[in-house]
């Protein structure tokens, strides 16, 4: 186990080094002068004075060669200093820390809601493939997959905030603010989880050890709880991790509509404003988290399935 963790840690560091180079270069690709875009973001006026633009370029250090900029950035980053946002003039590390906390809270809540609904739904569908529960679950999952967030979010606001008045329509100032965005974000993973749990449980329920358990006199519900769910959980863990990594930076639509100060909105605004330090650090943070999450998933596999431990020599 420790050998495996050490190996994955080395890979993680090498990956991050590669990512740092890519992350550093990304903002320089594409149209638009970063100094001009940053200036625009600050004064919201298309008519920019050339002398002011040059002053902005010098102030941001964009008049230096790119290689020098990269080495300086990497050195600072290794000390935990990602510099100041070009636009907000606030420490990037603080901005990312706050936004990550928000996004992790939102993503984990959404995925846990999705899991809580999809686990019984997928299992029920798997217990009688082709039955009523299975048909209803298939219909539901196909509908949920087809509904885009930019439609579902305003609809949720309309129903739960405007008509029923149960929940706030936007903001991030109380636990109630979390409910609507988490529900909207949960719908699509819920559909995918249900389908994969159904497929996994159909395989598991056909396995000889389930038959053996049943022949020992164990009831269906007990068999599923004790043996089925544990063994059917492997593909769900993979999917959960993929969704978690994706949602950390990829819930822009929901974050903008619900005015949530998360990573998606932060990165989106950084892209629009060419806020290079935020873009670079944000990209590294999201990739690093994705790699860390995948490593943790692999470790979780080893914990859940003892057979894998032997195959990894742990």
């Amino acid at each position: 186990m420790w050998h495996f963790a050490l190996r994955r840690g080395t890979v993680l560091l090498l990956t991050l080094l590669m990512v740092s180079i890519v992350a550093f270069l990304i903002p320089y690709i594409g149209e638009g002068d970063p100094a001009l875009l940053v200036l625009r973001a600050r004064i919201a006026d298309p008519n920019v004075d050339l002398a002011t633009l040059e002053a902005m370029r010098r102030q941001l250090g964009l008049d230096r060669p790119v290689a020098i900029q990269y080495l300086a950035w990497l050195g600072d980053a290794l000390r935990g200093d990602f510099g100041l946002s070009f636009v907000r003039r606030a420490p990037v590390a603080d901005m990312l820390g706050g936004a990550l906390l928000v996004s992790i809270t939102l993503a984990l809540t959404a995925l846990l809601v999705a899991l809580l609904v999809s686990a019984p739904l997928g299992t029920m569908a798997a217990m009688r493939p082709g039955g009523r529960a299975d048909t209803a679950s298939t219909l539901l999952t196909q509908t949920l997959i087809a509904i885009p967030e930019y439609w579902m979010a305003p609809m949720a606001i309309l129903v739960f905030a405007l008509w029923l008045g149960w929940l706030p329509s936007a903001g991030w100032d109380s636990p109630a603010s979390l409910v609507l965005p988490a529900l909207v974000l949960a719908l699509r993973p819920m559909a995918y989880f249900t389908r994969i749990i159904r497929a996994a449980m159909i395989d598991v329920l056909d396995a000889p050890y389930i038959t053996a358990a049943r022949s020992r006199g164990l009831g269906m519900a007990q068999t599923v709880m004790r043996h089925g769910l544990r063994n059917g959980a492997m593909p769900v863990i993979t999917l959960f991790a993929l969704w978690l990594a994706g949602l950390l930076g990829g819930s822009v639509v929901v974050e903008v509509i619900f005015a949530i100060p998360g990573m998606g909105r932060l990165i989106y605004e950084a892209v629009i404003n060419k806020d290079i330090p935020v873009l670079q650090a944000g990209f590294v943070a999201i990739v690093a988290l994705a790699v860390v999450i995948n490593t943790l998933v692999d470790l979780a596999y080893l914990t859940i399935n003892p057979a894998l431990r032997h195959s990894h020599g742990a």
């Binding site: 149209e31 638009g32 875009l37 200036l39 973001a41 600050r42 004064i43 919201a44 006026d45 298309p46 008519n47 920019v48 004075d49 002398a51 002011t52 002053a55 902005m56 010098r58 102030q59 636009v87 907000r88 003039r89 606030a90 706050g98 305003p154 606001i157 309309l158 905030a161 405007l162 008045g165 706030p168 329509s169 936007a170 903001g171 991030w172 100032d173 903008v256 509509i257 619900f258 005015a259 100060p261």
Partner: protein
């Protein structure tokens, strides 16, 4: 004794609530959050000004007129120098008095930043000096009558010396305005309480919260759910619903912003005045205002809107006349169906897509074949600046620096103007504008602006399509709410709740 004590405790416990109820707490949903660490040279100054915190020496009132603010009077000490006498008895929210030294230091801090604001930069302001116990002198690089107007910009707001520390700006407790910031919740919200020592008199509200909601539809929804009392810049598509909703009112104000069809006047055949006039006559501006904008805007009568003081009373939209347009094209030697042009439109302005389609249709009716290029502004701008375009839709404010359109006329229509996308150049136009900018009598100055606007309209330098309007929704329980013509003030001392 026991009952008396209980009564005393009950009164004491109820007292803060009673005090709060007396003034009440208002919630406002706004679009733009502070994004630049409250740097006063950025639009964050406007956020602070709207929040009732930051105040400049002079101010533009809700009728668009210049009024005293932290300065009680001003005089022109020379062609390029103005003296501002500070109001007595003003204290910053940290208890320090407003002195000439503090005001000069605050203004110089804005001037000295590497990227100063256009309204208040070394290009237009040479120096700010203390010339008396309560007087500062502002000098300009060249004679200017606009200096008192420049001092009204939010960027020229005054903060206490304590606000400037370690290269950062902290507006918490360092403003002079009717409201004190108590909490900055990132880009989410600002919490404020009233400034009991406000120099301008009693402040009606006890507390306020400004929430920053980027989605305009959500702002409108928050007003309907009761989560906010005022929703700024609600979309035109929600106006009918809001007006139908009980307990909600909509305030509409024509803004100093015009949607214009820019014409590349240096490119043939648009260098021909008759061709440009044909484009102008081909468009049904009143129909466009009524359809695309659901009647919430006015058709364009020139670069400036009808309500502005620098507009001739008789100014009207260019008449929609298909036959005249065809005749003008024929006079210019253009055969029907032979003129092709490209309409550039940027996608950030949501209504431009529909507007471009209508322009395309109306041009076709006079025999002009138009194609549409819709893209993000930043993708179109390089071609527009380089003069590689035929016509382009743009939404442009003409009060970009100060409450006077001279800067706009110079930058957008002056020879060598910094944003002269239509490439208009007329020496006589420039000379008249230069003379106007040194004219101290505002009435005479405005008359020249009106004539210059008429010149742009009659020569069809561009087609001024519509004058944009701002729409804010608010609860009927809100008292004394008005949209400021420059969107500079929202929380005022008189804003109140029933």
């Amino acid at each position: 004794m026991h009952k008396t004590l209980i009564l005393a405790f009950a009164c004491a416990a109820a007292w803060p609530a009673a005090a709060l109820a007396q003034g009440g707490k208002i919630t406002i949903a706004e679009n733009f959050p502070p994004r630049a660490g409250f740097a006063l040279e950025t639009d964050d100054a406007n956020v602070l000004s709207k929040a009732g915190c930051l105040e400049p020496l002079t101010r533009i009132d809700f009728d668009g007129k210049l009024q005293p603010s932290l300065a009680e009077s001003w005089t022109q000490a020379g062609p390029d120098a103005w003296d501002f006498k500070l109001r007595k008895g003003v204290t910053f929210q940290d208890g320090k008095p407003l002195t000439a030294a503090a005001a000069a230091a605050s203004l110089n801090a804005v001037l000295k930043v590497p990227t100063p604001a256009r309204a208040f930069s070394p290009r237009v302001i040479k120096s700010v000096e203390v010339v008396g116990e309560d007087t500062i002198r502002v000098t300009t690089p060249s004679p200017s009558v606009l200096t008192p107007l420049r001092l009204a910009a939010a960027n020229a707001g005054i903060l206490s010396p304590a606000a400037y520390k370690d290269g950062k700006i902290d507006p918490v407790g360092t403003c002079t305005g009717p409201f004190v910031i108590t909490r900055v919740n990132g880009q989410q919200s600002l919490s404020l309480k009233r400034n009991d020592g406000y120099w301008g008199g009693k402040v009606a509200l006890a507390e306020a919260e400004i929430k920053f909601i980027p989605d305009a539809n959500v702002r409108a929804t928050q007003l309907r759910t009761g989560e906010t009392d005022i929703a700024g810049a609600v979309p035109a598509s929600t106006l009918a619903t809001l007006k139908r909703t009980s307990g909600i009112k909509v305030a509409t104000l024509a803004t100093p912003r015009t949607t214009t069809l820019l014409i590349n006047t240096k490119k043939a055949p648009f260098d021909n005045e008759k061709v440009r006039q044909a484009l102008q006559a081909a468009l049904d501006l009143e129909g466009i205002a009524a359809s695309v904008y659901e009647g919430s805007v006015q058709p364009g009568i020139g670069p400036f809107a009808p309500h502005e003081p620098w507009v001739k009373k008789a100014a009207k939209p260019a008449a929609h006349d298909v036959k005249k347009a065809q005749a003008l094209l024929a006079e210019a030697g253009i055969k029907p169906g032979s003129l092709e042009l490209e309409i550039m439109a940027y996608s950030e302005k949501v209504e431009f897509k529909d507007l471009a389609a209508i322009l395309q249709d109306q041009f076709k009716a006079v025999g002009i074949n138009a194609r549409i290029r819709l893209a993000e502004y930043k993708a179109l701008e390089p071609d527009m600046i380089a003069g590689r375009y035929d016509v382009a839709l743009i939404s442009r404010s003409h009060l970009v620096d100060v409450a006077d359109p001279a800067g706009y006329l110079q930058s957008d229509y002056g020879c060598g103007g910094g944003f002269n996308l239509s490439q208009h150049c007329d020496k006589d136009f420039d000379a008249r504008l230069a003379a106007a900018t040194s004219e101290a009598d505002a009435g005479k100055r405005y008359a020249v602006y009106a004539e210059l606007a008429q010149h742009l309209q009659s020569k069809a330098v561009n087609v001024f399509v519509i004058h944009e309007a701002g729409n804010d929704g608010y609860k009927t329980k809100v008292r004394n709410y008005h949209i400021h013509p420059l969107y500079q003030y929202t929380l005022t001392k008189d804003l109140a709740l029933d």
